[in-house]
């Protein structure tokens, strides 16, 4: 695999540090770090330790149940799974043209989720590190600390999330785990009254989103060396783009760039993902390792998510977000920005974009139409691809003549970023841990790099769990030297 810190030659002779689980991310994972007698880092791995098995137990279930069942993969981005599965099942029921109203409602649901998920990640989970410092007092390095020190910022973050959740409630029936999208369309209209209810706070939402972009851009400008160098690793990029190359998070074609920005492939139909993306497994993680087939597992790994998307597209079709993207691109003078911490900036640009798209959708007469579903000639294969908050999400199903699922393959956003996250934490370990005695603050640097990707480890193993943290330091003989335990927020 990619770098020297993937596998140490003599692990049994090394001191082992475990960060388990990683905190302030979605889902459950751990990091192991092996140090030699001089505290030089020899091996770093992000392990995904929970097994879920959705791909297996969805087999034998009726296809119309799938969009509801698979969203239980996640409590943060269930809408992504709901919609990716629905898009796949559209093909099964032959809905080659989903009615405009259904598409508008689904898009509204999706951009509502992008907005709430990005707001949750930045304001609740990531901002404490960025506002207070990676090794600041852990008792304050949390959302409660942000509420105390920056009450307006925290409040706006919470209200942004609330707005997104309300969109999901109105379009899906519930804020979490609704049922709005069904094969061939949606089951629920948006009434003019509901549309007007969502329009009311729009001006504030856009203003808060713009302020979020400004905040990260300013943090980046003020700490440029840190933000650009922290855990930075070069890789290819993957995302959907609209047929005209613009950013589109709901539908489009697959485009990949190499680390320098050159096109690797473009215009690839979602149905052909299997020819471009292959998956590897490693014995130490339940999360798979996808790679571009044409480059192979050694060189074919890539990044997905906001940082990939806003650099992979040719433009953003909403003015405020496009202006913010241009400012972002101007920093790197046309080269690809690979810094994990730039994910936060890109994420806020997407949050602003989502707010603008929502504004447009709420002005679209199609949104409140009555034609909700379509059907056509039955098919046996359905492949639905969507840009989830964390990156490209692929749902692939085979359905038999009796309407039962016979095969399911899910490549989840976080899974695409598996190697990239591993390489980022290896880079941070080289930069900050090498030769030093690990402390809580230093180990949080590892977690900061993981958090930048906004991983959803539950989704990625197709897991339930909170994020208490245990750090064990074991000497070369295997004896436990220190054990620190954290439950949720404080160590």
């Amino acid at each position: 695999m990619p770098t020297s810190l993937d596998t140490a030659p003599n692990p049994e002779t090394l001191r082992r540090i475990v960060i388990e689980p990683v905190s302030r991310v979605e889902g459950h994972g751990k990091v192991t770090i092996l140090l030699d007698a001089e505290r030089k880092v020899q091996q770093v791995r992000l392990h995904i330790v929970e097994f879920r098995g959705f791909e297996r137990f969805i087999q034998g279930r009726p296809f119309w149940e799938v969009p509801v069942m698979v969203q239980r993969l996640c409590g943060i981005c269930p809408v992504s799974h709901h919609l990716a599965a629905s898009k796949a099942m559209d093909q099964i029921v032959g809905a080659t043209r989903v009615p405009a109203t259904a598409t508008a409602i689904r898009r509204l649901m999706h951009y509502g989720q992008i907005l709430q998920s990005h707001a949750l990640h930045f304001f609740h989970l990531a901002s404490p590190d960025l506002l207070f410092g990676f090794d600041s007092d852990p008792a304050k390095r949390n959302v409660v600390g942000v509420l105390a020190a920056h009450p307006d910022l925290a409040r706006h973050g919470i209200l942004l999330r609330k707005f997104g959740q309300e969109i999901i409630r109105i379009t899906a029936g519930k804020r979490v785990h609704g049922t709005g999208s069904i094969p061939g369309g949606v089951n629920k209209r948006v009434t003019p009254a509901e549309r007007d209810e969502l329009r009311a706070p729009l001006a504030d939402v856009v203003a808060w989103a713009e302020a979020g972009v400004r905040l990260v851009a300013d943090l980046f400008a003020a700490n440029r060396a840190l933000y650009e160098g922290f855990g930075t690793v070069r890789s290819s990029l993957l995302s959907l783009v609209a047929p005209d190359g613009a950013l589109d998070l709901y539908d489009g074609v697959l485009r990949a760039r190499d680390a320098d920005g050159g096109i690797l492939f473009d215009g690839v139909r979602c149905a052909d993902y299997g020819a471009r993306i292959h998956e590897n497994v490693r014995s130490w993680s339940y999360m798979k390792f996808p790679f571009f087939a044409e480059l192979g597992p050694e060189r074919g790994w890539y990044k997905v998510g906001p940082l990939a998307r806003i650099q992979n597209c040719d433009s953003i079709g909403t003015p405020r977000a496009e202006a913010a993207r241009q400012e972002f691109l101007a920093r790197t003078l046309g080269t690809i920005q690979h810094a994990p911490l730039a994910y936060h900036w890109a994420r806020m640009i997407e949050l602003l974009h989502a707010a603008e798209v929502i504004e447009r959708l709420l002005a679209d007469p199609a949104l409140v139409g009555d034609e909700l579903t379509a059907t056509g000639a039955r098919a046996t294969t359905g492949i639905g691809v969507i840009e989830a908050p964390r990156g490209t999400l692929i749902h692939h199903y085979e359905v038999d003549a009796d309407d039962l699922v016979t095969m399911c393959n899910l490549i989840v956003s976080t899974t695409h970023n598996n190697t990239a996250m591993n390489e980022a934490i290896r880079q941070v370990a080289r930069q900050y841990l090498d030769g030093r005695e690990p402390t809580e603050g230093l180990l949080n640097h590892i977690e900061v790099a993981i958090r930048a990707f906004d991983p959803c480890l539950s989704c990625a193993t197709h897991a339930l769990g909170k994020m208490p943290l245990a750090v064990e330091i074991v000497d070369a003989a295997g004896a436990l030297v220190t054990r620190l335990v954290r439950d949720g927020e404080s160590l």
Binding site: P62, W64, E65, G173, K174, G178, N187
Partner: protein, 245 residues
């Protein structure tokens, strides 16, 4: 003549409940707007008292209220902590015996078992689930049988035999191995005479007998028990054609 005679009544939880001769305690109570939790009872079929969820105490003795005739002067206890706990235990047994995954079940929000569980305050299965292996029967072009959710109420058996005159369904086995089967040598639903217009299609209180490709067509907010608990729906609304009650 009957207009002149005073209504016959029994007392339930301190209230007079009027009845006409031939009514059971359950049917009289429901008609009077007093809900008694129940699962295997359906007003169009002869009660057979198998699920025991409708158990009440009549003059201090436990009886299935669906099969116990109402009698003038009887003292009936239904809404008591003791009976609620017993009913809860029965419902929890049912959840533990089958595979009832409400989060992905298309009957959620319109399911009698789920509605009764909510009514009884069930928050957990309590008992260790058995996770039985029950493959679905998807052989019929228009109907899916998901045996995972069967509670052996026999309503489909009664509807198919008595109303539809087809005898499509039956129970087989004994005790914990008892299970629903279909009347075909192949054992497949496709080889039975079941039709979408059958009464048996409409009586399943859970999510076993399902019209294919219709799941989740009814949005959250419009399902049977989205706005009122089963106790209110059961005594205040006329039964719908697409489901139990």
């Amino acid at each position: 003549m009957t207009d002149a005679s005073p209504p016959q009544t029994f007392q339930m939880d301190g209230h007079d409940v009027a009845f006409t001769p031939g009514q059971s305690i359950l049917t009289a109570a429901l008609a009077a707007g007093r809900y008694i939790p129940h699962l295997c009872f359906h007003p169009e079929f002869t009660a057979h008292g198998s699920c025991k969820v409708c158990t009440v105490k009549v003059n201090g003795q436990p009886h299935a209220s669906c099969t116990t005739p109402a009698r003038s002067g009887d003292v009936v206890e239904s809404d008591t902590d003791e009976l609620t706990q017993l009913r809860l235990n029965l419902v929890q047994f049912l959840f533990a015996e089958g595979n009832h995954f409400c989060p992905s079940c298309e009957k959620s929000g319109a399911c009698t078992l789920q509605g009764v569980a909510y009514e009884l305050g069930m928050t957990t299965e309590h008992y260790s689930p058995l996770f039985p292996d029950r493959p679905v029967d998807a052989s019929h072009p228009d109907v899916l049988l998901d045996f995972n959710r069967c509670i052996l109420c026999e309503l489909c058996i009664r509807a198919s035999a008595i109303h539809d005159q087809k005898h499509v369904f039956a129970l087989s086995g004994r005790g914990i191995t008892k299970h629903l089967i279909v009347n075909a040598e192949s054992g497949r639903l496709a080889d039975t005479a079941l039709a979408l217009s059958d009464k048996a299609m409409t009586v399943c209180p859970v999510g076993v007998i399902l019209r294919k490709r219709q799941g989740f067509a009814v949005p959250i907010g419009e399902r049977r028990y989205d706005h009122q608990p089963i106790s209110a729906v059961a005594v205040g609304h006329r039964p719908k054609e697409d489901g139990h009650e």
